[in-house]
Amino acid sequence: MKRPIAILLACSFLLSFIFAGCAKKETEPGVIVLRMTVWDKQEDLDFYKEALKEFYKTHPNVRVEIESVPWVRMFDKLLVSTAGGRCPDVSRISSVWFTPCAAKGLLEDLGPYMENDPTFDINDFYKPAVDGWGRYKGKVYAIPGDVDIYAMYYNKTMFDKYNVPYPDETWTWDTFLKNAKKLSKCLDGDGKLEQWGCVPDQWWQDYIWQNGGDILNKDNTRCILDQPEAYEALQWMSDLRTKHHVAPTAADAADIGPQKLFTNGQIGMYISGSWAAGLIFNKEITTFDYDVAPLPKGKKRASFIGGACWGVLKRGKHKKEAWELVKFMTSPDMQRHFAEQKQIIPSRKSVAESGAYLYLKEKPRNKQAFIDAIEYGHPLPKVECSQEMNYIIANEITLAILGKKTSKECCEKAAKYANQILMYNRE
């Protein structure tokens, strides 16, 4: 009695599952279907679908299917699907893993396409962006779509409360420290701080660059974290937490995260990117007023720069149409849409410095700080093994940040291991 039911159930499951796996879409003949992968969430895809209507007007024989892939899985998806023969045609690519993408041969060289297309002007795009996550070994493999640049968000209400002058371009790191001390307070009398002047270690690279150092040498063959410019900068940064007590410790921030501490109003100055305002701060900051200022100046100015770009996958089947789609996604109109919707800095100079971004009503008001910072933007090292190398370095530096070891020790170790990885990857 039980068995026939069980077999019936089994069969129905099998059937449903087979159908689920084999769902194929029917396409009209003559219509080219392009697959585009982005990391926006499923709910936000309507934005693209609306915008693509313009694209269909000029390209009536093309249809675009958009797939949402989480940011952390995007690189995996591109790599594995290419290996499996079913890669998308166009993808949004992050500067963080652009170099491995290009180095592994996933992307199509866009040089020939740009040459044959007089309407496309690569010079309208910010040069640091094109060099940072568009070019690999001299060839252009992707077109930058937007720019993330880092500056200092600050809690205006807190500054007003303690009569501290707002940060501006005259600030040096000493000014920064002085004012951070004024803002770090214990509010409820138990001796522990609940309010801090800053959160320093989000982008430790900034400190090193500003101090004249770097992570890799000029031709990316050696890790130079073991130089004094690097480890002194890191030591200064970790001292903010352990010596001067102007920043929360790892335990203080554990599981709340420094960002939430800022949006809760407990941090005075928070270094973050231009994308954070639209995506997070304007929604979550409800109890205080905030704005943005340039990063303080060290021996020179530097700020982390990154962003996203659009690329054509080399093993796609409709590369000409894919190039048209990439052109569309990076066109001035699309960039205007993006900027107005999500407040990210467009990669085209003409659009960024126009009303589309600079004069948007939403906070932060001082968007000029971001635009100015682009010229001294410094991207992450462009090597194929950058992800692994960053992981190793970050782990070594943790000990310095926690105050368990001096920065000099940690940097020397980090450099040693990074050099190992570099060497191993060079063959």
């Binding site: 592994k104 041969g105 996933l106 599981d255 070594e396 926690l402 063959e427």
Partner: protein, 322 residues
């Protein structure tokens, strides 16, 4: 005439037999044997899944064993974990099983409660424990660090003041020294898994043995050492082997809670292998790591098997027809 008939029946049975095990045979070739051979080849190559594999001989093995500090670290982490978690787990589940074996009232309830943690999805467990280990708000540090324990003190005469158990509770997952102990602690929550097996084993011990020992005047400790332990030694053996293999399979908790940090304190072997294979796409290296793991486990199990003849006591069991 008789002989020919026999072989025809025998042949029919043989064919049917092969048909029966056909699913496994196919699976074995496609999913075990073939991949194993392929994996040996890959382990001697440089391969990132998209470009052709490049043969490099034993370079991967060399790199791992001699030059790669993360590999050594992952071994260290996994072995340290095994050294602490295994004995504690074995002893813990045995202890609980012993307690439960005493015909206490409500035994089914206790048994259920202890066993539940072993049933739950690893990711959910990892998340809950991450919250428990939170240095500021997690329940563990609240218990340890809150000034809620009354203690008699001498301040201007006798007074009762509230103190904390530990003045500065560790930062657990945020502290390189305490992250691995946190994992070991977490593993103790799952003692119920082994407990059930011990219970079954304990219940298989004939009571006559205990009665005979009582008549001889044995006390409980002697009864335990001379009767209980030897009789359940096969179960201990089974749990030990499974435990060794299990400690090399720790993945989900470290992936979800710490990603190997802080400062590699929780870089378990399988996590590192996963990173090499699926985050950095160095498949050849990961395959080499898998083979090194195989050899390590093989050696461990052989050692345990070899030693078993000295401490494991088997009763003769009746098996089905051979």
């Amino acid at each position: 005439m008789g002989k020919a008939k026999m072989s025809k029946i025998a042949r029919k049975e043989a064919i049917e037999g092969y048909l029966c095990i056909a699913p496994w045979l196919i699976g074995f070739t496609c999913f075990t044997l073939g991949p194993m051979l392929f994996s040996i080849y890959i382990s001697m190559c440089d391969w990132d899944i998209i470009n052709a594999p490049k043969f490099v001989g034993f370079a991967n093995y060399q790199q791992a064993l001699l030059h790669d500090f993360r590999f050594i670290q992952s071994l260290k982490v996994t072995i340290t974990y095994a050294i602490f978690a295994l004995p504690m787990g074995l002893a813990g589940s045995l202890l609980v099983a012993l307690l439960l074996n005493q015909n206490v009232k409500g035994m089914t309830w206790f048994r259920t409660i202890f066993y539940i943690p072993a049933v739950l999805p690893g990711i959910a467990v990892a998340m809950v424990w991450r919250w428990i280990f939170n240095p500021e708000n997690g329940i563990l540090n609240v218990f340890l660090g809150s000034k809620i324990w009354p203690m008699i003190g001498f301040h201007n005469g006798l007074s009762i003041e509230k103190v904390a158990l530990v003045n500065q509770p560790p930062a657990w997952l945020a502290d390189p020294q305490w992250a691995l102990p946190a994992f070991i602690l977490m593993s103790l929550w799952g003692v119920g898994g082994g407990m059930i097996i011990y219970l079954a084993g304990l219940q298989g011990i004939p009571t006559q043995l205990y009665e005979a020992a009582e008549i001889d005047g044995a006390n409980p400790v002697q009864k335990f050492i001379k009767i209980t332990l030897p009789m359940i030694s096969p179960t201990i053996f089974f749990n030990l082997v499974m435990g060794v293999i299990g400690s090399f399979q720790v993945f989900t908790s470290s992936f979800v809670m710490t990603q190997g940090g802080p400062a590699y304190a929780t870089l378990f072997y399988l996590l590192y292998l996963y990173q090499k294979a699926f985050q950095y796409f160095q498949m050849g290296y990961a395959a080499a790591m898998a083979w090194i793991l195989f050899i390590i486990i093989l050696i461990c199990t052989l050692l345990i098997f070899k030693s078993s003849s000295t401490w494991v006591y088997y009763e003769a069991e009746v098996k089905g027809r051979k």
